[in-house]
C-alpha cells in the first residue's frame, strides 16, 4: 500500500517537474514547481519524516515559491517569448542528462542490506553494528523522543554551532538582498 502511494506521488512529482522545465510562461512553471514540492512533502511523510514534510510545505511551497511569484509579477514576465536554447544545446542536454540518469538510477538497486554491507566494507567509517543496530534508526528515535524531539535534540546539542552559523548566513542574505534590490546604494 505504501509503495503504491509512493509511486503515485513520484509520478506526480516527475510529471510536474517535467512540465515545470518545459513551460514557456514563468508563472505556470512556478506553479508546477509548487506541485512538485507538495508531492515531495507527501513522499517525506511516507518516509517517516513528518516534520520535514511540514517544513517543506511551509518554507518551500510557501515562502520560497511566493518570493519567486512576487519577483515574476514585479518584473511583469507573465507573457514571455520562447527562451529555449538552440538545437545544439538541446542535443548537448540530451547527452549530458542521459548519462546522468544512467549513472544515478543505479541508485535504484540500493537496498538497506546492500548499503549496510558496503558501509561495513568501507574503511573506518563507523561501527556498522552501532549504525544499523536493529532496523530503521529514525523510527526508533521518533518512538523514543517524538517526531519533532528526535530532530530538535541533536539540532540544539550536537549541531548547535552550525545552527548559530545559519543565523549569520540568513542575516547576511537579508542585508545582501536589501542592498542589491535598493535603487541607489
Amino acid at each position: 500500500m505504501t509503495h503504491a502511494i509512493f509511486y503515485v506521488f513520484a509520478a506526480i512529482a516527475v510529471v510536474s517537474a517535467t512540465l515545470c522545465i518545459l513551460q514557456r510562461n514563468p508563472v505556470s512553471a512556478a506553479l508546477w514547481l509548487v506541485s512538485t514540492m507538495f508531492s515531495l512533502a507527501a513522499i517525506y511523510v511516507l518516509l517517516d519524516a513528518q516534520f520535514i514534510a511540514a517544513i517543506q510545505v511551509l518554507v518551500y511551497a510557501g515562502a520560497v515559491m511566493v518570493l519567486f511569484l512576487f519577483v515574476i509579477m514585479l518584473l511583469n514576465l507573465g507573457r514571455a517569448s520562447s527562451d529555449f536554447r538552440g538545437p545544439s544545446s538541446v542535443a548537448a542536454t540530451i547527452v549530458i542528462v542521459g548519462l546522468l540518469v544512467i549513472e544515478l538510477t543505479a541508485l535504484w538497486r540500493y537496498t538497506p542490506r546492500r548499503l549496510a554491507s558496503e558501509i561495513a566494507q568501507a574503511p573506518a567509517f563507523a561501527d556498522p553494528a552501532s549504525v544499523f543496530a536493529a532496523g530503521p534508526l529514525a523510527q526508533q528515535e521518533a518512538a523514543a523522543r517524538g517526531v519533532v524531539g528526535a530532530i530538535a535534540a541533536p539540532l540544539f546539542q550536537v549541531y548547535l554551532v552550525p545552527f548559530e552559523i545559519t543565523s549569520i548566513l540568513l542575516l547576511a542574505a537579508i542585508v545582501g538582498a536589501v542592498v542589491l534590490a535598493k535603487r541607489k546604494v
Partner: protein, 98 residues
C-alpha cells in the same frame, strides 16, 4: 522500506533540474531548476536518514536554510539586472564573456 525507489526518484528529479538549467535562458526559471535540484538532494537525505537516524533531517534543515538565502539574494540580483537591462534573458547578459 522505500530506500531504492526514493533514491531513484531523487536521481530523476535532479536530472530534470540539470536539463532545465541547460535548456532555458530565462534567469528566473533557471533559479527554479536549481531549487528543484536542491529538493532532489533533500529527498536523498531524507531517504538515507531512515537508516542513519536524525542527522540527515538536520542536513535537510540546513539545505533549506541555504536555499532560502540563495533564493533571496539571487532574486535580488535578478531584480538589479532587470533594472539595468530590461530583460532576464541570459542571452542579453554577457558582460563577462570575453
Amino acid at each position: 522500506m522505500l530506500l531504492g525507489p526514493a533514491l531513484g526518484l531523487s536521481a530523476i528529479l535532479f536530472s530534470l533540474g540539470v536539463a532545465g538549467v541547460l535548456l532555458r535562458r530565462n534567469a528566473i526559471i533557471l533559479f527554479m531548476c536549481v531549487e528543484l535540484m536542491l529538493n532532489a538532494v533533500n529527498l536523498t537525505f531524507v531517504a538515507l536518514a531512515q537508516l542513519y537516524g536524525s542527522s540527515g533531517y538536520i542536513m535537510v534543515f540546513f539545505v533549506m536554510t541555504v536555499a532560502a538565502a540563495e533564493a533571496a539574494v539571487g532574486l535580488a540580483i535578478i531584480l538589479a539586472i532587470f533594472r539595468h537591462k530590461r530583460s532576464v534573458d541570459l542571452q542579453n547578459i554577457n558582460l563577462l564573456r570575453g
